[in-house]
Every structure is written in C-alpha cells, then in structure tokens.
C-alpha cells in the first residue's frame, strides 16, 4: 500500500533485572500509518517469532488509553512525541518513512526493569496501599447524593482522579520523582468528604512510602505534567506540599 513506511527501531533489550541491557537495531517494513505504535510492535514481534528470535517484551493491556499499562519512552519522551496520549494511542502517522525511533523503558531505580521494555511499577501499588484509599464500612452503598460535594471540589477531585498510574511522570522527571502521581491521589481524596477522616495520616504515610521506594525529590521543573497522558496539573503537587506541611505542623494527629 502506498504511504506505508519502513522504519529503523533501536530498542532496549535486557534479559532480566540483574543483567545489563543494550539498544538493539531492528528494521520493520511496510508499516501502515494507521497502525498504533503497539501494533507496529506486534508486527515486529511476529517477525521475530517467525525467525525463531526472542520477541520484545512490552507492557500493554486495554490499548484504549485508560489502563495505564503501556510505558514506552519513545525518542526521549514518555508515550512518544504527542501530548496527552498513552503509547497505545500513538499512531504511526506521527512518524515518517525512513525514521529511526529509539524505544527505551521507563528509567528509575524505583521501577526495576523486568525484561526489555517492561518495568516493575509495584512501588506505585505500595504507595497507594499506604494511604491512597478511604475506609468504609461494608454493606449497601449509600445514595450518591447523600453527601453534597461542591461542584468546584468535585471538578478538582475528578481531574486528579484521571491519573492512570502509568508512571510517565517518573519517567519524565530528571529526579525520577513520583510527586505528581502521589499528589494526584492525595489531592483527589482531600477534596472529597469521604477522604476527610484519614486526610492527615494519608499524606504523611504516602509521602513516607514514596521516599522509601527511592523516588527522587521534586525540582518543580514541570516535565511530569507536560508529559502526563492525563494532563495532571502541577497544582496537585503544591496542594500535596500544603497538605503535608499542615499534617506535620498544624495537625494534632500523630
């Protein structure tokens, strides 16, 4: 078909967490501009399998931009050259015939590489488990409108809740800081009535877990927000700093 592309890929190959990795060159031919970036990888992997080579391991799940599973660092940018999308929503029409594309995994010591382009993001799960929840009694859920929530608070909470936990913020940050991810959850729950009882303990516990996982500190460069597929705002980080200072300086809770 006309308009199809031949590309050179430089892909990070690494056998497991302990071994050293390297960029390996691959050629893919006759790639349709309508393919998604991950479909292009499927084509490459089919080709590798048919040759008896090891396919490239990469994370993916929903392929519709909502699950937060895909995670490629493409030509120096998390989720590739387009703004506000995940890798699965990136299409090959964003590239040109003859391009060389460098694909690397998220790089952060808190996200150890499992294999090739897949990284272990369970550090995020542990941060959420440390406080990114609300405690409720079991039983029937109460009526949705029993607790009135001001529209502006609902909007702020909703915008923060859009975070899919993909880790692009960590990947983009020069310090591999998880501040944007953690602050999105902290600020979401801080704006909802259900989040109030654990508000002060939550922020302390989540920040402590974040530091323990080995993420860097925040330099306020804004790279996280610029690369976030869900456009989570830096305002969340300021809000979390405020929550954290309040919890430590003003709150009488331990």
């Amino acid at each position: 078909m006309s308009g199809n592309m031949n590309l050179t890929l430089k892909i990070w190959r690494q056998r497991n967490t302990k071994t050293k990795g390297a960029l390996v060159d691959y050629k893919v031919k006759d790639i349709s501009p309508d393919m998604s970036f991950l479909e292009m990888f499927d084509v490459l992997n089919e080709d590798l399998i048919s040759k008896g080579d090891e396919p490239v391991a990469f994370d993916h799940d929903c392929r519709e931009g909502i699950c937060g599973m895909c995670s490629m660092h493409i030509n120096g940018r998390p989720h590739g050259p387009k703004d506000a999308i995940t890798t699965c929503q990136l299409h090959m029409r964003s590239f040109s015939d003859g391009d060389t594309i460098v694909v690397e995994p998220w790089r952060a010591n808190a996200f150890p590489i499992i294999k090739d382009l897949t990284v272990d993001r369970s550090a995020f799960d542990r941060i959420i488990a440390s406080g990114g929840y609300i405690s409720v009694n079991t039983g029937n859920a109460q009526d949705g409108n029993v607790l009135p929530i001001a529209k502006q608070d609902a909007d702020i909470a909703f915008a923060a809740a859009a975070c899919i936990g993909c880790g692009a913020c960590v990947a983009a940050c020069k310090n591999a800081s998880a501040m944007l991810f953690v602050s999105a959850k902290v600020n979401q729950l801080a704006h909802l009535p259900q989040g109030q009882p654990e508000r002060m303990t939550r922020v302390k516990a989540m920040v402590a877990q974040m530091d323990k996982e080995g993420f860097g500190a925040c330099t306020n460069t804004g790279a996280c927000s610029a690369e976030c597929p869900k456009e989570i705002s830096l305002v969340n980080i300021a809000a979390m700093n405020r929550e954290y200072l309040k919890a430590n300086l003003i709150s009488t809770e331990d």
């Binding site: 990795g21 960029l23 120096g76 940018r77 983009a172 920040v207 300021a238 700093n241 954290y244 430590n248």
Partner: protein, 223 residues
C-alpha cells in the same frame, strides 16, 4: 521538636528548607542591591561609603550577617544533598534525553547554576567581604570601600566574571523564585500568574542592576 524531624527526613521537608533559605537569600539580595545602587549617586561614593560603614558597624546588622551565612550554608549543603540523592534515583540514564521539550533548561540545571554561583561568591567574598571585615585595608579616609570597588573593577577579567556570575544568578532565580512558592504549597490560579511575573522581572532586574555596577566603574562612568 520531634514534630519538626520531617524537615530533615522527608523529601518535601528537604525541599522546604531549600525554598525558605532561598527566599531569605532573595530578601538579602534586594537589600544588597539597594545599598550598592548608592554608587549611582555619582558623588564619589560618599553616600555609598556611609551606608557600607553603617552595615559594617551596626551590631544588629552584623548579627544578621551570621544568620545570612547560616542561611547560605544550609542552602548550599541541602542543595548538594538533594542533587546527589536525586541522582541516585536513576542510575541508568536514557540514551535519548527528554531535553527542552517538556521543561526549561535552567529548571533542570539548578545544581550547576548554584555551583557557578558558589564559585562566583568565593571570588566576590574575597574581593570585598574579606578585605573589609577581616583586614585593616579599608578605612574611611585613605581607602574607602568605594575606592576598593574602583580598584577591583579596573580589571576587565574581574568585570567579566561578575557579569557571568550575574547571568547565572538570573537563571537560578528565574526558576528558584517561583519554585520556592510551589514548594511551600502556594499555587493559586488567582495569584500564581502574578507571582511568576514578579519572579521573572526580579530575576532580570536585580542581576542586571548588579552587573551594571562593575561595568560602569570599569568604563569610568562613575567617579
């Protein structure tokens, strides 16, 4: 005081120290700039020397000077501490860097700019603070601080170092000023745009005024 250990233990606490000491140093810069601007009175340094003498002899000011050095050292050590900690968070780097696509170069280079400023500061303190506070070379009649300024800034290379130092300061402030407010949690859609604008112009104007001083003295525009 156990409640305050978070300042030392947590990344947000560490950052708070950077922001607060940074703002303290910004306040000092303003005072320093206003006093030094007295040389532009072009009165042979009379008013400037009086102001400098007041700053040198006043007990309150000298006590505050200790606080200033303390703030400076904390800012430097905490900054270096954070730079090394943050580097440890990513031991294998990308072969293709994100670069300027999603952040400003100076926001990513605060450690480098700070190091350049530290080198400048050592030279600057040797030129003026050391000579006026720790030696007897400056006196009110034979060799005033203004005379010393004229001597120091007679060299082209010294003037160049000072101008380069002020360029580093401008970029350091351009990120640092607004960043310190973000760290303290002050980000509000009503005030932050104004605050960022004030930060930008502060970062341009103060280093600009400072760098005109050695240039004006070198060119003999002030006598």
């Amino acid at each position: 005081m156990a409640a305050l250990t978070f300042i030392l233990k947590s990344s947000i606490g560490n950052k708070l120290i950077m922001g607060l000491t940074g703002l303290f140093l910004i306040a000092f810069l303003m005072v320093h700039c206003i006093i030094n601007s007295m040389i532009f009175m072009n009165d042979g340094g009379v008013i400037f020397n009086e102001a400098a003498e007041f700053m040198g002899k006043n007990v309150a000011i000298r006590t505050m000077e200790i606080g200033l050095f303390a703030g400076l050292f904390i800012h430097i050590f905490q900054g270096l501490n954070l730079v090394f900690k943050n580097r440890k968070a990513r031991s294998v780097n990308y072969s293709v860097q994100n670069g300027n696509k999603s952040s400003k170069w100076y926001s990513r280079s605060m450690g480098l700019l700070g190091t350049l400023l530290l080198i400048f500061l050592i030279i600057h303190l040797r030129h003026f603070w050391y000579v006026s506070r720790l030696t007897n070379e400056i006196s009110s009649d034979t060799n005033t601080l203004f005379d010393e300024m004229k001597k120091v800034f007679a060299s082209f290379w010294v003037v160049l170092i000072y101008v380069l130092g002020m360029i580093s300061l401008a970029y350091h402030l351009m990120h640092g000023f607004q960043s310190s407010f973000q760290t303290m949690g002050w980000n509000h859609k009503k005030y932050t745009p104004a605050l960022k604008m004030i930060g930008f112009w502060f970062s341009v104007i103060i280093p600009f005024i400072f760098s005109t001083m050695p240039i004006a003295l070198f060119l003999g525009l002030i006598k």
